[in-house]
């Protein structure tokens, strides 16, 4: 049997940034699958398993608001850090007064979702059932590794385990069905060959290439179906 979980998440604000508008951030209308995966992983994750998001239920009408924040416009230099480690001294500081960037954000207000995700066990010794029960116990108690968030760290998510009936959907009839355009599904990581790599996997230290994957998202009766990563709908 498949071990699917349902988790109700909600919060006062959320920002699931669109890649094309990630400088002056504009949120997607609905939570992205990768953000949903992040929420589940914040509550429970082990190297022996993987989360697959199946669908996301939108519970509240899409409402936007604006804010502006001061942020830093540069990355800390990895090369400087490396040479500082080698030589034992060096300047690693960033001066926020000099590197300040004001960025506008169009973010979501007052959001609520039900995430449906499936556990895929990666080794036979730890069956999915075990992960399922561990997740369930943790979610029911409100335990998490780190506080789950809605797209950006500052937008905290509250969560509750959903056993049977879903929380009420507040969408009007006209809001329940619509096209959401192309949405980020997730980033596919493949082992890097050669020198070029995009990220280093934190638990193994392996060098990986990252490839964003997109899918055509649509809301049907207030539910966004998420295709499997391998399906033909996914474009990369």
């Amino acid at each position: 049997m498949s071990y699917s979980v349902k988790l109700h998440v909600w919060g006062e604000a959320a920002c699931f940034t669109r890649p094309e508008m990630k400088v002056e951030r504009v949120s997607y209308d609905v939570m992205t699958p990768s953000a949903a995966r992040g929420v589940l992983e914040a509550i429970y994750w082990k190297p022996q398993m993987r989360w697959e998001i199946e669908r996301i239920h939108l519970l509240k009408p899409v409402r936007f608001t604006n804010l502006r924040r001061n942020e830093v416009g540069v990355k800390a230099s990895a090369a400087n850090a490396k040479s500082a480690i080698k030589s034992g001294s060096g300047s690693l500081g960033l001066y926020i007064e000099d590197e300040r960037q004001q960025r506008a954000g169009t973010i979501l207000r007052d959001v609520g979702y039900v995430i449906e995700g499936r556990i895929v066990a990666l080794d036979a010794e730890n069956p999915a059932e075990k992960h399922y029960h561990m997740f369930k116990r943790r979610a029911e108690k409100g335990q998490c590794f780190q506080r789950p968030y809605l797209g950006c760290r500052e937008f905290l998510a509250d969560f509750a385990w959903v056993e049977n009936e879903l929380p009420a959907c507040e969408l009007s009839q006209s809001e329940r069905n619509r096209d959401l355009g192309f949405m980020l599904l997730d980033i596919a990581y493949t082992p890097a060959t050669g020198k070029a790599y995009d990220v280093i996997e934190s638990n193994t230290g392996k060098k990986l290439l990252a490839q964003p994957q997109f899918f055509r998202a649509a809301l049907k009766a207030g539910v966004m179906e998420v295709p499997a990563v391998t399906s033909t709908e996914v474009v990369a």
């Binding site: 504009v26 960037q101 192309f182 790599y197 964003p212 055509r216 474009v235």
Partner: protein, 593 residues
């Protein structure tokens, strides 16, 4: 979604023969002059393409030309068959750098001569022979050039109707050129198809108020902190070159059309619908007021159309009669843009339908409707925003965006807007009359704003005119104050220097208990001064009716009640100055009895 819908709008425009929109690889540029050549390449004349407007300003002619706008920077970048006078003729009025100008001309000439055999078109060759024989020094013989060469120019052969850059052979050659400097292909976020991806999004977005005049970008990754996963620049957001061109061109087209754009505070707003509808042109007119048009008859027609539309909205007939009913379900898009450094940020984005938008607008129109309005149409959001500050330019830019959003979404009005209006009423008691010519209008608009907030944010039911049966004491205190002022004027004449309103209105509206007893005793003196006995008795009765509704004077009025106070005052004043033959006199009892 935004880019996708803009891309669809581009397709709508390119299918519409009445719209001039540039195809991929081309752009619309403003041309102020045209070099007319004889078939052998001799110069015939420099023709002006500037057309005069009603207000005396000249408007350069927009033409579709190959290539994007001139790249900025110090490099020498000649365009094909169009450019500014420095490139085309080696001429610049009051030239600070003659060397550079001649370099430009040489680059322009060399580029065209190099292409002569490749393009192989008789008209193009004529241009080449002109470029071969032209000497920049000759420009002095044409004094008219200084007048007409501020913008770009192009070539035309004598006796021809279309410009040289519009020749089929030229277009064919141009379309074969790879315009992209990028080799990267991938899935386009807008169309989902595998295409050449744009490294930078061109053309830039022009016409957003406050943004750089050379254009700004919605999609731009100009610092490494914005980049992820080793991607450079716009590869972080894979959009095909064609989609980037189309969405930006569509947006530029809208931003360049004054009938589609509204600028409120620091936000520039564009409206459009999925298919052509009346709503997409009438909505912006409502928000910004009618545009100045070519002639007065047209002005009057636009105003009449707007008035008819709004009055139908106000009567609650909504979209069904105000707009063709088949349009009601057409998607309606509103995009608010505001500048931020070299970028354009999305201030708001809303997708709804024409019917829904008409309903929202009707709600607003009903909320701001008041008796005895000095204006023919209800106050526009811009006029209300203007009332939150001393000078129009001081109006807080953030407020206008959020007020607009409230109107468009039906959400509560921003409380900061309400507070700002109350603050202005308090601050301007004395200066109003002497400093602002339009203070009656201003007063009216402020009360309209208060009424709208009371209805929407505090769920009050408020009538257009005087309502003697309201339960809130604050409303009746406002009415009482109006009467006290009227009594003073009855006694001392209409044109006294400082009325009790000038001196006590602020205090009366916030802390009635401290002011009202004093005002009432003053009023006794005023009443005694009124010579006409009948009038005195009428006023005493009117005051008595109001006083009966109040048990005590509140010590302090909260913001919500202050609004009611202002409204009560306004309603009572309007009622006092309305001829009693038209409206029934104030009565505490319902009329039916």
């Amino acid at each position: 979604m935004i880019l996708q819908v803009l891309n669809e709008f581009y397709e709508r425009l390119s299918d519409d023969p009445s719209q001039e929109i540039a195809p991929y690889g081309y752009s619309v540029q403003k041309m102020s002059f045209c070099v007319v050549l004889a078939p052998d390449g001799r110069l015939v004349q420099f023709q002006s393409l500037i057309s005069e407007m009603k207000n005396g300003r000249g408007i350069a002619k927009p033409l579709v030309v190959p290539g994007q706008g001139k790249p900025p920077g110090s490099g020498v970048n000649p365009c094909l068959l169009w450019d500014n006078a420095a490139y085309m003729l080696g001429y610049r009025a009051e030239d600070p750098k003659p060397e550079r100008t001649s370099q430009c001309f040489e680059a322009f000439r060399d580029r065209h001569l190099a292409l002569e055999t490749e393009i192989n078109d008789p008209q193009f060759s004529t241009v080449c022979s002109f470029l071969k024989q032209w000497r920049p020094e000759l420009a002095v013989e044409h004094p008219e050039l200084a007048e007409i060469s501020q913008s770009f120019g192009c070539f035309l052969l004598q006796g021809e109707t279309s410009y040289v850059h519009e020749r089929t052979a030229v277009k064919q050659w141009w379309d074969q050129q790879e315009t992209s400097d990028s080799e990267r292909r991938g899935a386009c976020l807008v169309s989902g198809q595998q295409r050449t991806l744009a490294r930078l999004h061109a053309p830039k977005i022009k016409g957003v108020r406050g943004a750089q005049s050379s254009g700004a970008s919605i999609v731009s990754f100009n610092l490494d902190a914005f980049e992820s996963y080793g991607m450079r620049q716009s590869y972080n957001a894979p959009v095909s070159e064609q989609a980037a061109f189309q969405y930006a061109t569509a947006l530029n087209q809208m931003l360049a059309d004054p009938a589609r754009t509204v600028s409120l505070g620091d936000t520039t707003i564009v409206f459009w619908t999925a298919k052509p509808t009346a709503a997409e042109t009438i909505f912006p007119t409502f928000f910004s007021g009618p545009l100045p048009t070519q002639n007065e008859a047209e002005d009057a027609a636009v105003l009449a159309r707007l008035k008819a539309f709004l009055s139908r909205l106000a009567q609650g007939k909504r979209d069904k009669s105000a707009l063709p009913s088949e349009d009601a379900d057409t998607p309606f898009y509103i995009l608010g843009l505001s500048p931020n450094a070299s970028r354009v940020s999305i201030r708001f984005w809303q997708v709804s339908s024409v019917g829904e938008m008409s309903q929202r607008l009707a709600q607003y129109v009903q909320e701001v409707e008041l008796v005895n309005s000095p204006d023919e149409i209800p106050p526009t959001p811009r006029q209300l925003i203007r009332e939150t500050a001393r000078e129009a330019k001081d109006a807080p830019p953030l407020l206008s965006g959020s007020l607009m959003q409230s109107i468009l979404t039906g959400a509560p009005y921003p409380l900061a807007f309400y507070q700002a209006i109350l603050r202005r009423i308090r601050a301007e008691q004395l200066v109003d009359k002497s400093h602002r010519k339009d203070w009656i209008r201003a007063m009216h608009r402020r009360i309209a704003a208060i009424k709208a907030v009371l209805i929407r944010n505090f769920n009050k039911e408020i009538s257009v005119g005087l309502d003697t049966n309201r339960s809130e004491p604050a409303y009746h205190l406002g009415r009482w104050f109006a009467l006290l002022e009227k009594v003073q004027k009855d006694a001392l004449g209409e044109h006294i220097n400082a009325t009790i309103k000038d001196r006590f209105f602020t205090a009366a509206s916030s802390t009635p208990a401290t002011v009202f007893p004093r005002l009432i005793s003053m009023s006794q003196n005023h009443l005694n001064k009124i010579d006409a006995k009948g009038l005195r008795i009428t006023r005493e009765k009117q005051i008595q009716v109001i006083a009966d509704r109040l048990n005590e004077f509140p010590r302090h009025l909260a913001l919500e009640q202050q609004g009611l106070f202002h409204l009560g005052y306004y309603h009572q004043v309007q009622d006092l100055y309305t001829k009693k033959s038209e409206t029934p006199a104030i009565s505490s009892a319902p009329e039916s009895e």
